[in-house]
Symmetry: C2
Subunit: 137 residues, 2 copies
DNA sequence: GTATATGCAAAACTTTTGCATCCTT
DNA sequence: AAGGATGCAAAAGTTTTGCATATAC
């Protein structure tokens, strides 16, 4: 599916700023980026865009399921493209490396726990913080 | 152990602002409070304190293990007393109710996952978001 | 008495919003 | 042509910091 189609499917007009933002998320070597990261990346590439647009577009993308928003650290959200393969995150507190892993049994367990407390489960956030092998002391 | 001893053990002087903040966290009917919540609670009770002190003290308390900091929602941290009994949180997105649950096997699983990726695990954040029974539609 | 903590105000950051203009459809 | 999107600047919300004063030990 083209980026254009993806936007239309989400009920969003295909505009230049939106295409630019998706392109950054698709092509950057870093997978998790903040609004400011994306803005800087574009400005440094001599692409014109406003920071307010980046924030507005990311919010729309999140609601449309195009990106996933994370709060790895307080006070700054980061976004990654939603590739439809659910995964969790391991974060190295020294070098910032982020390892993604998938564990469906874990997710099933979360659903079971919610149901045991008479909760419907919409989503969850799970982040493991530690130190990767090269940063271990 | 008295509050005084707890502070001293953490290498913190026993000061009036610190005692006031602990008292709020111990006695408030709400278990998870933001810095602003604690500040307002004190001001409304005609206790003198500065908001900057609340932030500074909460940061020290977190580092000392006296409180645990959470980012249930982006942009605002909440704190709870660390009662030394590890638990996770279920959050109702309608009414804001927070249910705590304990699951040591889940935590063991997280440690196993980290080790499988050659990570040392320092801590984790796990929040389940959904709707409680009375808010389910 | 000395080092540390506090309070105030100002600053720093991230994110949101009002509004005039521009772009998609 | 019309509604939606953008960009700028200003505002809002949370958290941090500089500095003079007050407090704990």
């Amino acid at each position: 599916m083209s980026t254009d189609d993806g936007l239309r499917k989400a009920g969003l007009r295909s505009t230049l700023p939106r295409l630019k933002i998706i392109s950054v998320l698709e092509n950057s070597e870093v997978r998790h980026m903040s609004a400011e990261d994306i803005y800087r990346h574009l400005i440094d590439s001599r692409e014109e865009i406003g920071i307010a647009t980046v924030y507005r577009v990311l919010t729309q993308f999140e609601q449309a399921g195009i990106v996933i928003r994370h709060n790895f650290e307080a006070g700054r959200a980061v976004y990654e493209l939603n590739d439809e393969s659910p995964h969790e995150h391991l974060i190295c507190m020294s070098c910032g490396e982020i390892v993604e892993f998938e564990d469906s049994s874990l997710v099933q367990q979360l659903a079971k726990i919610a149901s045991e407390h008479s909760f419907s489960l919409d989503n969850h956030s799970l982040y493991l913080y530690g130190h990767c092998q090269s940063c271990a002391h």
